[in-house]
Amino acid sequence: MRSLSYIRAKTVSEATEAFVAAGEGARYIAGGTTLYDLMKLGVERPAHLIDIASLAGSDRIETSGDVLFFGAGARMADVAEDGVVRRDYPVLAESLSKAASQQLRNMASVGGNLLQRTRCPYFRNGAIGAYPCNKREPGSGCAAIGGLDRGQAVLGVSDACTAASPGDWPVALTAMDATVEIQGPAGPRSVPIAEFYRLPGDTPHLEFAIEAGEIVTGISVPKTEAGRNSTYLKVRDRESYAFALASAAVALAMDGDHVRHAHIALGGVATRPWRAREAEELLTGRSIEPDIALAAGKAAFAEARPGAHNAFKIELGARTLADAIMTAGRKMQ
């Protein structure tokens, strides 16, 4: 029988040292809601689990300084319910409370959340049928292209992979210019979230800008008044407990009636959390009106490349963004 070693680390250095010592097949585990799932699907076959759920101080939620800081081990549920986050940064709180289920949010960490994998059904089904999938088996092809691709991305796709990035929280963090704090055997570093996620290109199996053995220690979000006029809108196949077909994170910094700067990112429609700069530019200097909001929505999808069954995501994504802009705009009053 496959054996599995398990240790619970108490500090970051203890964890990274254990990772190096364990060698091949080591994995960190926090809430386990992604990792166990991937183990059952045969995507992950770890030989050593290093539990980082109880690293000292890793669940810190810090809202009093110049930046918001979320320890990687903080639970999704705890961040979603934090009073300051809810009041001053609804986009962050909503992206968490609309994700997964309460049971999952009670277990899952905001750090582990950054590293969840795609819901592409061909990727997830490999154990039963060995579908061609470049993410799962580099070079094997992509069954989703030319297949049942209703859930696939329309932005950032490549000829090797069209898998949608699944998370909600990473989308809100992308809109808010977050930074991922990382600690590795070689020391600490900070990666802007825009650089944390890679486009699939020819190497869809490489998804995150993090090296084996490195630990995400936390996430910092610069404070901005735009946070108050913000929202996360998620449209899905049912009203709860489903991943996004299209989602939009919007935060607006205003000068009176006019947008000084818009923060916009999209989920469910792209191969990574998608910063919509075109839409942001279009809104800058404008007042919030339905037609302008919709124009911004359309601008975000100008480069979209749909497959056979997911072209509706272009229209849906544009309207979802437009609705989110209107909601964020209404928070001004």
Partner: protein, 726 residues
């Protein structure tokens, strides 16, 4: 009396279940149990050329790996998977190197632990010779049967349609759906007390045990089927599963108990499902909206070798007073596992198509959809000419319209708008389901201590059949429900007819009632006087007898004593809907209110009102739950569920509960349920018709019709998704 009858009583097994004390089939504590796991085929059609078991055999804990070579003696009988009682039909995997659908078991790994079984199964390497296939009825190699499965007609429907004042001619598509009961399908086989006991959450313990014995060439008296509780069946557990005979045979060959629990993802490929179907509906009416003609042609997917019937045409002609009718149902064969019965198996898809077509007709005639249905109410069946035993559908419609506030509805789509800008739509649809009954052999024992036990036919699947049996005993004997033991689902206690098709209550209630009445008679013979108001066990105690036992054979209307013999042999022996003097159905009317968000096309079902005519209501609480469950399922069918098949690979791609989208609490608004509660004593002494299936019939159509009323869009396929309304 009526008060008592429809009492809102807690389920007799509620505490057992909530406290986790109810042991389901896979929970049985059995010493020395081995665990099994199947290896699923990764091709959709072809042959196994070679199986390499070397790596799997080296997995520590693996005891034995079985392949088709070990099981070639298993016989594919009419009881086998997919045969549906027909000789020459059906397919039992692993009895030959042939692979007939993706995901079917090609090897069975038995190990000391579940982990070793899983790991062993993953390590088995199979080489196949694959063949071209079609897994969807639209694809090239799908083959339509030459002859229709069923045809019903009365009068010259073509001619009547041709000259009708108002006509609709529409086609509806219903997708493939999967039952997904929470209890996974499992089989545990163990030799105990000299017999082979099979624990499986089945809806048909006798047919199951007898069928397995036949397939294995065993003496049926040495095989006992035990289905202690079934954690949701919905028709998926009404026969022998693909793994049942494999696990039983493995236990025989190894002389050790073996258990297999199929994983959710594999169940999408091995268990039955509701097949995809297409429905062409033509309705013709006169100026006043009276139905002159109905023409109804359906096509349904089936497995290549399976016997599952296409029966969509059975119910719709009974709904209204059609002047003339012609219907035909056909099968298209594809390379999948056998489909099967899923709650309201044909009645739900056919009501979806025909009740949506009625909505289209109402618009064509310019009539209110409730009025159109009332104008076509019927008291006899257009096909046989026989009267209905009881039909209060018009009352269901009137009471439902009142409770729902149907008068708010605007004929013009999109005319009702909510404060937030959502479009409001109101829809109505009706349903019916045949009222059937089966035989039972019931043994009832009353003890002077007050204890009481009853052994009869029935399977507890969450529908509350134990509570129904208890209700009759409480009413007739006044027994204490906490001192009552209801023994069902076990061929060791009484023969077990398959529980399905909404005949559970209509069969179990009269059986329990008959036994209770007989016990009263016997007791009064013993006491030598009519019974008093005192508790029966006190009166029994006074006779100085420790207990009193009666056995009663219940023979349903229209059958003779032969059914008891059939029952003992596990042969289905249902009656209805046609009886010597009448036709019997349950009826229902559903009203739905939807709100549609204009920007994204999101549909929310705010409220459903359902009024049912199911004869006498045995227990208001479980009855309301049945209807709510049926409505939730209807909402799921209308807006959420579909099994998806990639034609290049076969199988079901969205094979888990995250991707096979069923409604969650946030999707469900208010569901208000009411009953006509008029007993139908023509049918049986309990006055019961049946509720579990009719609850769902028409619910999806009501939602779809409401979506039209909100948006003006006729979406003629299910589920209606966001992209259909954008």
């Amino acid at each position: 009396m009526t008060q008592e009858r429809t009492a809102d009583r807690p389920r007799v097994d509620a505490y057992e279940k909530v406290l986790g004390r109810a042991l389901y089939a896979a929970d049985q504590p059995i010493a020395g149990l081995l665990h099994a796991m199947t290896v699923p085929a990764t091709i959709a059609k072809g042959r196994i050329e070679a199986i390499d078991m070397t790596a799997a055999q080296n997995v520590r804990g693996v005891v034995r790996i079985f392949t088709h070579e070990d099981f070639s003696q298993i016989k594919t009988t009419p009881a086998a998977r997919g045969a549906y009682g027909q000789p020459g039909k059906g397919h039992q995997p692993m009895t030959s190197p042939v692979v007939r659908h993706r995901g079917e078991p090609v090897a069975l790994v038995v190990a000391e632990t579940l982990e070793a079984a899983i790991e062993g199964a993953e390590a088995v390497k199979v080489r196949y010779a694959s063949e071209p296939f079609s897994a969807r009825m639209e694809d090239d190699l799908a083959s339509p049967e030459a002859e229709p499965d069923r045809q019903l007609s009365s009068g010259d429907a073509e001619a009547a349609f041709a000259t009708a004042d108002h006509r609709v001619d529409v086609e509806y598509l219903h997708p493939q759906q999967h039952h997904n009961p929470i209890e996974l399908i499992s089989t545990t086989a163990a030799f105990e007390d000299g017999e082979l006991r099979i624990y499986e959450g089945t809806q048909a313990a006798s047919a199951f045990a007898g069928g397995l014995a036949g397939m294995m060439g065993m003496d049926p008296t040495r095989l006992r089927g035990v289905s202690p509780y079934t954690g949701g069946g919905f028709g998926q557990k009404n026969g022998i599963q693909e793994q049942s005979v494999l696990v039983a045979s493995a236990a025989v060959l190894l002389r050790r108990p073996v258990k297999l629990v199929m994983s959710r993802s594999q169940l999408f490929h091995t268990a039955s499902y509701r097949p995809r179907s297409r429905h062409r509906v033509r309705l013709g009416a006169d100026e006043q909206g009276r139905l002159l003609a109905g023409l109804y042609e359906t096509v349904q997917q089936n497995g290549r070798y399976d016997g599952f019937a296409c029966d969509h045409g059975a119910n719709p002609p009974r709904m209204y007073g059609y002047g003339a009718w012609r219907g035909s149902d056909r099968i298209v064969r594809v390379d999948t596992q056998t489909p099967g019965h899923q709650r309201a198996p044909h009645e739900h898809p056919s009501s979806y198509a025909t009740e949506c077509a009625m909505d289209e007709l109402a618009e064509a005639v310019g009539m209110d959809p409730v009025e159109l249905r009332l104008a076509n109410d019927a008291q006899s069946d257009p096909i046989t000419g026989k009267p209905f035993s009881s039909r209060h559908l018009a009352d269901c419609l009137r009471r439902g319209a009142e409770l729902f506030g149907w008068s708010r509805r605007m004929r013009e789509p999109g005319a009702l708008v909510a404060d937030n800008g959502d479009l409001i739509g109101l829809g109505v649809a009706c349903g019916s389901y045949k009222a059937s009954m089966t035989a039972a052999v019931t043994t009832l024992r009353l003890f002077a201590s007050g204890r009481c036990d009853i052994a009869t036919s029935g399977h507890e699947m969450g529908q509350g059949i134990r509570s129904v049996i208890a209700a009759e005993l409480i009413e007739i004997l006044g027994v204490d429900p906490t001192k009552l033991d209801v023994r069902i689902g076990d061929t060791g206690h009484a023969p077990q007819h398959i529980t399905a098709g909404s005949w559970g209550t209509g069969s179990a209630a009269p059986a329990a009632r008959g036994a209770a009445l007989k016990l009263r008679d016997e007791l009064s013979l013993l006491t030598g006087a009519p019974l008093s108001e005192e508790p029966v066990h006190v009166q029994l105690a006074r006779t100085r007898r420790p207990s009193l036992e009666v056995t009663v054979n219940t023979i349903p209307l229209g059958k003779d004593a032969q059914v008891i013999e059939q029952l003992r042999r596990g042969i289905p022996s249902t009656t209805g809907p046609e009886y010597p003097d009448f036709m019997a159905f349950s009826w229902i009317a559903h009203f739905a209110e939807v709100h549609v968000e204009t920007s994204t096309g999101r549909v929310r079902v705010k409220r459903v009102v359902s009024v049912a005519d199911c004869g006498r209501v045995m227990n208001r609480r479980t009855a309301e739950s049945q209807v709510r469950g049926g409505v939730v399922w209807g909402i799921g069918a209308a807006l959420r569920e579909a099994g998806e098949t990639d034609p290049r690979f076969g199988g079901v791609l969205n094979n888990d509960l995250a991707e096979y989208v069923v409604p969650v609490n946030a999707d469900i608004g208010a569901i208000d349920v009411d009953f006509i509660d008029q007993p139908d004593f023509k049918l049986n002494m309990s006055g019961v018709k049946g509720l579990g299936e009719v609850a769902m019939v028409g619910a999806a159509a009501a939602v779809v019709n409401a979506v039209y009323n909100a948006t003006g869009r006729r979406v003629r396929h299910l589920p209606i998704r966001i992209e259909d309304l954008l």
